[in-house]
C-alpha cells in the first residue's frame, strides 16, 4: 500500500513562529546594520554638510581624508592602541587567570577586584585616570613629594606617549572581563591533560605555553572579538581623559568621525572616515565571522 504522494508544503511557512520571532533580528541586521552602512557609504561620496545631500563629488572626501594629519594621527593612534590593547589584555588577562587558577584563597575577592572596573563607564574611567595621571596632583606629584623631584610621569600631557596614558585606563577597565573569560577557558580544560603533563614531568609554564594555550582557541576567539570590537569603538575614554589632546595627539577614528559629522558639519567627510573604519572592520571580521558562523557547523 502506497498512499498518494503529497506535495511538499511551502518552505516559507515551516517554523513560522521561529521566523516571526526572528523579525527583530532580521530588521536590525537589514535596516540598521546593512541599511545604515549602505546609507553611510552612499553619502560618503557626496559633499553633504550639515544635512545629507545627494550631490556627488566622487572620491574627493577620501582624498581629503587621507591628506588630513588629524586622520593620520587617529589611524596611527588606533593602531598603537589596538595592538597594545590586544597584546596586553590577552597577556595580562591570561596571567591573572593563570594565577587565579592556582587554587588560591580569596579567589572571589581578587576576582571582584579585577572585575569591578568593568562595571564603570569609560567616562568614569577616563575621569578617574585623568585625575590620577594629572602631574599636579597625581602620581607624579606624589612621587616628587617623596623626594624624587625630577620624576616625570605625565603621559596625558606628553604628546608622544599620551596614547599609552589612555591605554593604562583602557586596560584597567577591560582586563577584568578578559581574565574572567580566560579563567572560564582554563577551567574548561580537561583535568587529565594537567595530570598527563605532570606525569610527563613538564614544568607548569611549559604546560601553559605549549599545551593549554593552544587548547583555548574557542575562548581566545571570543576574547578577541570582545577586545577588537572595543578597540574600534574607543571614543568615550579619549574624550573623557584628554579630549584628543594634547593637541591632536590622542585622536582616534571614532572621534574624528563624530567631530566631522557634527562639529565640522561636514557629513560627507565624517561618512568617508566611517566608511574607512567599516572597511577595516569588514576586512578583519567578515572572514572570521564566516568561518565561525558560516553555516555548516551546528554548535558554533
Amino acid at each position: 500500500m502506497t498512499p498518494m504522494y503529497q506535495g511538499r508544503p511551502s518552505r516559507l511557512f515551516r517554523n513560522l513562529n521561529a521566523k516571526i520571532a526572528s523579525i527583530p533580528m532580521i530588521l536590525t541586521a537589514l535596516v540598521i546594520f546593512v541599511g545604515g552602512t549602505a546609507w553611510t557609504v552612499f553619502y560618503s561620496f557626496t559633499n553633504s554638510k550639515l544635512l545629507p545631500r545627494a550631490s556627488f563629488v566622487g572620491l574627493e572626501q577620501y582624498e581629503r581624508l587621507w591628506a588630513t594629519p588629524r586622520w593620520l594621527t587617529a589611524v596611527e593612534n588606533i593602531a598603537i592602541y589596538g595592538v597594545c590593547t590586544l597584546v596586553f589584555s590577552l597577556v595580562i588577562g591570561f596571567l591573572l587567570a593563570a594565577l587565579m587558577d592556582q587554587k588560591i584563597r580569596f579567589e572571589n575577592t581578587f576576582r571582584t577586584i579585577f572585575l569591578y572596573p568593568f562595571a564603570l563607564s569609560f567616562i568614569v574611567t577616563g575621569l578617574a585616570w585623568q585625575w590620577i595621571l594629572n602631574p599636579n596632583f597625581g602620581i607624579q606629584q606624589v612621587v616628587r613629594n617623596l623626594g624624587w623631584t625630577s620624576f616625570t610621569f605625565d603621559p596625558l600631557y606628553d604628546a608622544d606617549i599620551v596614547i599609552y596614558g589612555i591605554l593604562i585606563a583602557g586596560l584597567w577597565q577591560g582586563t577584568g572581563l578578559i581574565m574572567c573569560l580566560m579563567l572560564a577557558g582554563l577551567r574548561g580544560i580537561d583535568a587529565d591533560i594537567w595530570k598527563a603533563a605532570r606525569v610527563d614531568g613538564i614544568p607548569t609554564w611549559k604546560t601553559y605555553v605549549f599545551i593549554v594555550i593552544p587548547m583555548m582557541r574557542p575562548v581566545l576567539v571570543t576574547t578577541l572579538v570582545i577586545i577588537a570590537s572595543g578597540i574600534v569603538k574607543v571614543y568615550d575614554l579619549v574624550v573623557a581623559q584628554t579630549s584628543g589632546g594634547p593637541g591632536i595627539a590622542s585622536e582616534v577614528p571614532a572621534k574624528y568621525v563624530y567631530n566631522y559629522m557634527f562639529l565640522a558639519q561636514n557629513l560627507g567627510q565624517g561618512f568617508a572616515a566611517s566608511t574607512m573604519m567599516l572597511l577595516s572592520v569588514v576586512i578583519v571580521v567578515v572572514p572570521w565571522a564566516y568561518l565561525e558562523f558560516g553555516g555548516k557547523r551546528r554548535h558554533g
Binding site: D190, D192, A196, A197, R198, V199, D200, G201, P203
Partner: protein, 360 residues
C-alpha cells in the same frame, strides 16, 4: 620483589573520606586490576600512587623507595587516562617526545624510543598526524605510547578503554595483555568493566567505598566471592540470588518457597548457623533436562522470557517465586511458556549471610 606498596593510605576531600587506611602490595610484573562501581575511589587511589594527589595519611613505595612526597615524574610511573589526554595541537610524535625533550634527553635516544614504542603499538604510520585525525583506538594507543617511551617501572591505567566501542575495546584489551606479556612491567589498571578485569588481571582488587573488598586471582573472585557485593558485581549476566533460610541439623539445607536445596556438598567457610541467608548461583552453572535431573538439586520451571544473545541465550524463569536466569547454547530453541527441568550443583553456589552479606 614488591613493585608498588600502598601502606595505610587515607585520603579525604574535606570531611569526606575517599580512601580509608588502604593497604596494597603489588609484586613486580603483576597486572593488577582495580575494579569497583563508580565513585568507589579507584581513580583516587591511582592518582595517589601517581603522585597526582597528596595522601592525607600513609605511605607509598615504588620499587622499595618511599615516594610519598616525590613528584609524579620522579616516581618511575607512566599513566594512561580514559580521555586519552593527548596534547591536541602536537603531532603524535610530539606527544611522545614532549616529556623526553623536557627532560633533556638526547635527540637520537628520543628517536630510538619513539621508534620502539611506535613499533610495539603499530602506530608508525600515524606519527605525523594530530590526535584529532586519529580514531579513538589509535588515540589510546598513542596515550599508551606516551607512557611507554618513558621507560617506566609501573604503568597506571585509568579506564583506558571506556571511551571506545565494544569492538575496539576487545581488540585493545588483547593488545594491552600482549604488551604486558612482552614488557613484564607492573601494571595497575582501573576499570569498571568486569570482562576487562577478568581477562587482563593477574589479580583483581574489588573496591567499594574506598575499601578493598577482595584481592585475589580472577577465578577465585569469580567463583568464591567473599561477599554478596563482590558476587553481584562480577559476572554478566549476573549471579542469581535466592533469598531463603539455612536449616541446620544433620543435613543442612537451604530452604526457599516450595523447594529445599541440600547443602551437604557446599564447602562452608564459616559455621552454618541456621537463619536467613542468600544463595547465589551463576546462570552458566545451571543444567537443563536430564543433566539437571542428575544434579543434587533440580526443580521444574516455566520459561518467562528468552533473550538470545547470539553466541548463547539467556532464559528467565522463576524459582521459589524469585527471578532466576540461566544460560543455554544458542541452538537450544526455547520459548516463553515452555516448561522444563533445571538443576545445579550446590557445590558451585555461594552462600551469603543474610545480614552482613559475607560468604559462609
Amino acid at each position: 620483589m614488591t613493585s608498588v606498596v600502598v601502606k595505610d593510605v587515607s585520603l579525604s576531600f574535606g570531611a569526606y573520606d575517599v580512601l580509608k587506611e588502604l593497604n596494597l602490595d603489588v609484586p613486580e610484573g603483576e597486572f593488577l586490576v582495580l575494579l569497583g562501581p563508580s565513585g568507589c575511589g579507584k581513580s583516587t587511589l591511582l592518582n595517589c600512587i601517581a603522585g597526582l594527589l597528596d595522601v592525607s595519611d600513609g605511605q607509598i613505595f615504588i620499587k622499595g623507595k618511599n615516594v610519598t612526597w616525590e613528584e609524579p615524574k620522579d616516581r618511575g610511573i607512566g599513566m594512561v587516562f580514559q580521555s586519552y589526554a593527548l596534547y591536541p595541537q602536537m603531532t603524535v610524535e610530539g606527544n611522545l617526545s614532549f616529556g623526553l625533550k623536557t627532560a633533556g634527553m638526547a635527540k637520537d635516544e628520543i628517536a630510538r624510543r619513539i621508534a620502539r614504542a611506535a613499533e610495539i603499538l603499530q602506530i608508525e604510520p600515524l606519527l605525523k598526524r594530530k590526535p584529532a585525525a586519529l580514531s579513538g583506538g589509535q588515540r589510546q594507543r598513542v596515550a599508551i605510547g606516551r607512557a611507554l617511551v618513558r621507560d617506566v617501572d609501573v604503568f597506571l591505567f585509568d579506564e583506558p578503554l571506556s571511551n571506545l566501542d565494544a569492538k575496539l575495546r576487545s581488540e585493545l584489551r588483547v593488545e594491552i595483555k600482549r604488551l604486558h606479556q612482552k614488557l613484564a612491567n607492573t601494571m595497575i589498571y582501573v576499570t569498571h568493566d568486569q570482562i576487562e578485569a577478568m581477562t587482563l588481571a593477574d589479580r583483581i582488587a574489588v573496591m567499594r567505598g574506598g575499601v578493598i573488598q577482595q584481592l585475589d586471582a580472577p577465578q577465585v573472585i569469580y567463583n568464591r566471592p567473599v561477599n554478596r557485593f563482590v558476587a553481584g558485581f562480577l559476572g554478566s549476566p549476573g549471579m542469581n540470588f535466592l533469598d531463603g533460610e539455612i536449616e541446620g541439623g544433620a543435613e543442612p539445607a537451604f530452604a526457599i518457597a516450595g523447594a529445599k536445596i541440600p547443602l551437604d556438598r557446599y564447602g562452608f567457610d564459616a559455621v552454618a548457623a541456621p537463619g536467613k541467608a542468600v544463595l547465589g548461583i551463576r546462570p552458566e552453572h545451571i543444567a537443563l533436562g536430564d543433566v539437571a535431573r542428575a544434579m543434587p538439586f533440580s526443580a521444574d520451571a516455566g520459561v518467562e522470557l528468552v533473550e538470545p544473545m547470539g553466541s548463547d541465550t539467556l532464559v528467565w524463569t522463576k524459582l521459589g517465586g524469585q527471578g532466576f536466569a540461566f544460560r543455554v547454547e544458542a541452538e537450544r530453541h526455547l520459548a516463553s511458556g515452555d516448561q522444563l527441568r533445571i538443576g545445579f550443583d550446590p557445590a558451585r553456589a555461594s552462600l551469603f549471610d543474610g545480614q552482613s552479606g559475607n560468604r559462609i
